[in-house]
Symmetry: C2
Subunit: 228 residues, 2 copies
Amino acid sequence: MTCVQEETREVSVPSVDGLAAEQITDEDDGGADGSQRRRQIIDAAREVFARDGFASARIREISAVGGVTDAMIYRKFRSKEELFGAVLDEPLGEFTRAIQGLAAHGLGTSPQERYRLSVEAHEKLLAVFRDIAPLLGVALFYDSDAGRIFYRDHMLPVITAVAESLRAVMTARQLQVIDPMLLTTALVGIYLAFSTAAYDKRIAESDHAESEIITRAVAFGLFETLLS
Amino acid sequence: MTCVQEETREVSVPSVDGLAAEQITDEDDGGADGSQRRRQIIDAAREVFARDGFASARIREISAVGGVTDAMIYRKFRSKEELFGAVLDEPLGEFTRAIQGLAAHGLGTSPQERYRLSVEAHEKLLAVFRDIAPLLGVALFYDSDAGRIFYRDHMLPVITAVAESLRAVMTARQLQVIDPMLLTTALVGIYLAFSTAAYDKRIAESDHAESEIITRAVAFGLFETLLS
């Protein structure tokens, strides 16, 4: 996970010829199409990364679990880092859509209904985060240069997309308490912290109870007594 | 950073003989006392870990920067993991005292004064967190077993201490919005997220501006529009 390696990735975008070659290879290779193979590889990689961690995960193990060849993995992903990013993009996309859904429902319903929808949405979001928190932590902090690149390439698009949908709701309601980018960043931090807190078994692992807490915190503040 | 290695540390506490031997060694070794040498080693380790990351940091480099011998480091710290934990304990202690100070000031002053004190305290806390966030991230996520142990041994005491001081304030004011342990956990998550967001230069790095945001979020909620 070096800076140089990842930076290179930005420069050497696949040429049209390269893409065509890949498609032909996929068609030649047993009939499964490119996206199906990609799916198999990502599912296997998620399993192996979650079990072995980033550093110890072996491409050979991922190919064995996924029922593909090492060469196939390297045709789809330039490096272990790129595969790792791809594994996280899917749950991060899920996270984005769930928050966007929450923001959409935030418009035009009653306060009671908004509360219920919020708890439901946070419950889903927490469940997503519990799965990815350890891998996300590794991606952000394993190496500081790689972490910066991961943040820019994988986290920032998520935060920006969520922030834009929240901005729309906030603008519609003519109330903008804090910058939506920072709001979203804070929310991601809370999810990460709550997921990490499950390291300690004394903290309840009930997604429903915690999602109620997040809803209350988001709506009423973390510490209502501070200014009152 | 293996689970077994760290677990062993709990069992093999230094014997009285071991401690006596260490003191004699320190006196023989140039006149600096044990805590001074410990200080030199921790300062050097902080510098090297911050620059090289956990995996790449070399004890040889830490001893060179600190002006001590490798053997001296191994007399004070059983492993690189233990030294890493010691580096983080100091800023985490600073964080604990700053929040406890905030909680203490939260009693008996006017809302305006509480707001000002809160912004001041969060500003200090953010500054502390910006320094340690990358190392903290590594400690929590580099390896999932080691992360659990680090959480239990280094983070949980911080969160518990802070939560107890907040609990006292909340009880005195007869208002407990959310469990103080979860409140503190959420705050730590926000700090971690804001510190990590500085990976992206587009987010302002003004501790004052962000500490105002945290104060508002803590007091009024992250998203005031949600339930209103």
